[in-house]
Amino acid sequence: MNDFAFHAPETLDEALGLLAQHGADAKVMAGGTSLTTLLKQSLIAPGHIVSLHRVRECAAIEASDGVIRIGGLATQRDVELSPVVKERAPLLAEAYRRVATVRIRNVATVGGGVAQADPAMDPPPSLLILGASVVAKSARGERVIPIGEVYADYYETTLEPDEIVTELRVPAQPSGAAWTYIKYLPRTEDDYATVSVAAIGRAEGGSVADVRVALGAVAPTAIRASVVEDALVGQPATSDALREASQAVSEIVDPTDDPRGSAWYKRDMSVVFTRRALEQVLGLA
């Protein structure tokens, strides 16, 4: 590991000040579950680490006006267990529950997960279809960014080096709609997904009244399958319609070969698991 100065500010403002002072030579550390490995493998070599472990702000999970506000420093385990999240967005509680193992979720934070932006992570597809936004603060001010505009590429976001994710704002799930999160794991239970699909849907009088679908692990970022949604809304909810609509995801995914599967396999499985997710949320499973 390279040498670095370690800062342990007590407040968010102090942390933002340190980031402003050290610019691109500083890295913020939350749980450290990804960052420590990057440091150990010398994949990054910042001169300054600004650790947030002493900061007591930004860890609450609350809801008001149909929006859940999750502090950027809340742990992923906190989200999984939160009665507020379980009641208003059970899909999100389930997505966080599927992250790694309890040992990691105990420490990994919501903000760290957003900033790490690995497309194979579990929360992103659900955050996309729930219409989440990210509050990012810096000494320069505050921005509220739709989650889809945060993810830019593999492990890349549009967050600036001096910004800290202080909050995730997630609109409550539509009541009366069914939901599912499928994490396809052909290797081991604690792995990252080979393909993941989050979906919300509601059929009414045999037609698709509402449907939202997003996929993880099959493109440089998690992706919303708008082509599938557009093809189905207002149409009869039949097995054939879902099968046909699911085919369209093979055009929007852009997977790579890796130990979790070849690109062609992931493309095929994207179609299969999109169809299964749609069947589940539209009452055809």
Partner: protein, 159 residues
């Protein structure tokens, strides 16, 4: 690595005892526990958070000490495998692992015990699927897992 590492004072309470050490900022918590504190019960295997060998309790929750910086644990309360028994009286989870063959080489065992103990503190009578889900982050190359599950079930019953 530079020749004059930036050093950091770290104060921790481990198994009820306070320690103060000055270490390089890049020191991982597992190395700190093993080499700076001399508590070698905690093992390091994968070094990337996957295998569970380095599992400790950090401020009341299990964590992977291989992907935690020692500096980040400054001020923390930690329990390692050495702090699990009460003097000569083994913890029920330790007893159960012995009585039910929950280990062979023992390399993974400190981590298994720390994880199993935390499970039973969260959920005193877990079902088999709950045991499997909680323990999936603790790999073992010898035992074949069945006896680990049996050991945890026995510890739950013994409590």
């Amino acid at each position: 690595m530079t020749t004059t590492p930036v050093r950091q004072s770290v104060t921790v309470t481990v198994n009820g005892q306070e320690y103060v050490r000055e270490v390089p900022t890049y020191r991982t918590l597992v190395d700190f526990i093993r080499y700076d504190l001399g508590l070698t019960g905690t093992k390091e295997a994968c070094s990337v958070g996957v295998c569970g060998a380095c599992t400790i309790e950090l401020d009341g929750r299990i964590a992977a000490s291989c992907i935690t910086l020692a500096a980040r644990a400054d001020g923390a309360t930690i329990t390692t495998i050495e702090g699990v028994a009460d003097g000569d009286n083994l913890h029920p989870v330790q007893e159960a692992f012995i009585n039910h063959g929950g280990f062979q080489c023992g390399a993974c065992t400190p981590g298994q015990i720390m994880a199993a103990k935390a499970l039973l503190e969260t959920n005193p009578s877990p079902t088999e699927p709950e045991i499997k889900e909680w323990m999936m982050g603790n790999l073992c190359r010898c035992t074949g897992y069945y006896q680990i599950i049996e050991s945890i079930q026995a510890a739950a019953e013994a409590k």
